[in-house]
């Protein structure tokens, strides 16, 4: 019978590195996909998820078991992903306006697809989604990605974001409304 996460955490806290490696094997794919949902880039997602595991490993002594390892670890990961996006936004090449209304008026994006080519359309749509997601405030984006992409329950998201379930519902609704407006031309 396989030991549970908490048992492995206990062993890892006593210095059993293999126990922590087992935790990595269990969670690496989900961690990677969450990081990918935020970064939308394979290398960034790999770096971010690995960084989260390392951070969890070095801070394992601070894990007191009040929440599950799953919640504790994914909170570390999501915070790293949000920090990463914040750093990206500070780069001079990124001139994307963060307001919810403006992406529709952004000058570098054509209002209508230039050609009826499916690949071009798919590329534009994918890029527009990425931009629309980035334009969302961090907490709305987090709630949306964890619900829409990862299928977490409202309670799980609330635990992870350390907020009330009602607040998560509000964030989710606002995120959907903003995305729907941003992506209206593709609807």
């Amino acid at each position: 019978m396989n030991p549970g996460d908490e048992e492995l955490v206990g062993l890892a806290q006593q210095g059993d590195r293999r126990a922590f490696e087992e935790l990595v094997e269990r969670h690496k794919q989900k961690a990677y996909y969450i990081a990918f949902d935020f970064s939308r880039d394979r290398e960034d997602a790999k770096d971010l998820s690995q960084e989260a595991f390392l951070k969890a490993f070095t801070n394992l002594k601070n894990f007191d078991g009040r929440s599950s390892f799953y919640t504790w670890f994914y909170r570390i990961l999501v915070n790293l992903c949000l920090d990463f996006k914040r750093r990206q936004k500070r780069t001079p090449t990124d001139s994307f306006d963060e307001t919810l209304e403006s992406p529709m008026e952004s000058s570098y994006e054509p209002q209508k697809p230039p050609a009826p080519d499916q690949q071009v359309l798919a590329g534009q749509f994918s890029r527009r989604i990425g931009e629309a997601l980035e334009a969302l405030p961090a907490r709305q984006r987090t709630a949306f990605i964890l619900k829409n992409h990862q299928g977490l329950s409202i309670k799980e998201i609330a635990d992870l974001m350390e907020t009330a379930e009602g607040t998560v519902k509000v964030h989710l609704h606002r995120a959907v409304t903003a995305l729907r407006r941003s992506l209206a031309e593709f609807a």
């Binding site: 590195r17 990595v24 490993f57 989604i129 409202i154 959907v176 995305l179 729907r180 407006r181 609807a187």
Partner: protein
């Protein structure tokens, strides 16, 4: 913008949040049943729900890394964890010195070291003092040896004074 918004479905404002939760299957049973009844008679809400069903799955960007990616991922991470573990154990070894159970031992050692320093230091200071005293004596002794000479000089001064006073009275 207005045109685009007009193209979007217009659901009942107060039900919008519940429609989102309904789409994700996160609505409580009673609310879900009530909304389902409403959807049968409200085209705006029904269209909104259809729109969410069509649009939201499209926002997910899929990625299927090959098996080699996962193998490399695990190998790289094991290596990083091993490195972090080395660093950690170095700090832990240092940290052992500051564990509470060793504090009395460190305090006792510090007291002994202080006592030794004071004891040995005192004798050293004493040696220094006597050396200074010796130097002072070396300065005083020549003065003492020539004391008679100096006294004689004082007498000579007195004689000179008396002689000059005598000369002044004679002149007067």
């Amino acid at each position: 913008m207005a045109d685009r918004n007009n193209a979007l479905s217009l659901p009942c404002k107060e039900l919008e949040e519940n429609l989102v939760l309904f789409h994700y299957g996160d609505l409580a049973d009673t609310e879900r049943d009530a909304l389902q009844v409403h959807l049968g008679s409200c085209a705006g809400c029904a269209d909104y729900l259809k729109e969410l069903t069509a649009l939201l799955p499209l926002t997910i960007k899929t990625d299927e890394p090959p098996q080699t990616f996962w193998t490399d991922y695990s190998r790289e991470l094991r290596h990083k964890i091993a490195e972090a573990s080395e660093k950690k154990s170095w700090w832990q070894r240092l940290g052992v010195l500051f564990q509470p159970r060793l504090v009395p031992a460190f305090a006792a050692a510090a007291v002994v070291a202080l006592a030794l320093t004071l004891t040995l230091g005192k004798s050293m200071w004493r040696t220094n003092d006597s050396a200074q005293e010796d130097a002072a004596m070396l300065e005083i002794l020549p003065v003492a040896e020539n004391l008679e000479f100096f006294n004689a000089m004082d007498v000579l001064d007195d004689l000179d004074l008396l002689e000059s006073m005598g000369n002044q009275s004679n002149a007067a």
